[in-house]
Amino acid sequence: MSNRDYLGEFEHIVVLALLCLGDRAYGVTVRQEIEARISREVSIGAIYATLDRLEAKGYVKSHLGDPTPERGGRSKRFFRVSAKGIAAVNRTHLALQSMTVGLDLVRSY
């Protein structure tokens, strides 16, 4: 994987949500965090599909928690951003900043 790989729009949002949540990051909290911050209702399926892709790229790591009764005895899958993932977020941010230099976005649109 080259160091020119950038995160997609939704990947970027999910990784930032994981960073905000820290140790509490699992499907439900990630979904609720995105909904609370950007008012975008996303499905659990979309979250997991993205997290799976990020895990395959090595940007995210996951582990299973203990089963809990409020989940019908099913366990939570916790996620955290890896060092490689943080590098990808920084790279994406830098790229976006570079692309917006000289653009007066608020006044133009």
Partner: protein, 223 residues
Amino acid sequence: MVTKSFLSQAPRLAVWLVSLFTPYEQSDSILGDLLEEFSDLASKSGMAFARRWYWRQSVRTVAHLIGSGFRGGPWQIAGVVVVGFLLCFFCGGRLEEAVIAVLNFGRHPHDNPYYTWSQAQARIRLIEYGDLVGHFLLSLFIGCIVALAVKGREMLAAITLAFVLWVPAMALFLVWSARHGPFLPLQLITPLSDSIMIVIGGGIVRKIRSAAASRTTSVSDYR
């Protein structure tokens, strides 16, 4: 205790639908997340709202899982669907012969089986119903084969094949309806039932495999 009573009221059909499409390793996490939010919403906003939310989330989740399943291995799905289509095409034509061969099993070729007109009619009906049942079983079998060939994406392969078989039949029906008026011709029932049986075959394989996967997981957890 309150949470448990909420969990039992989650829409079972939606839970079952999601469980059919989730990858084995994600099944517990996705279903657990949906149930956790469902019981939370049910206690805060009422059962009707929570059930509507659960259905909306389930449909969108299944759509996403189908999309990501296709993106994960489009050529594998396409290959399996082509094989399934060829099996339907070549085996389907042999059905009548097989049914007649089974009905004539042990009968001398020069024997006349018909003594009266009603006996001849009964025999024709037997061949027709035998052909229909044969169609059902063959489609179920092909659905199972297609699902067995793609581990983890059984339902995706079965639904795609069912769709591929059903669309030409539907197109023919529309052309036929445009010419002769809108009513359901009997010819449309066979491809429709074939498609349904293929999906059921895929579902059976999927359920058997996920049961085996959960048994393996629980054994490894125990160790």
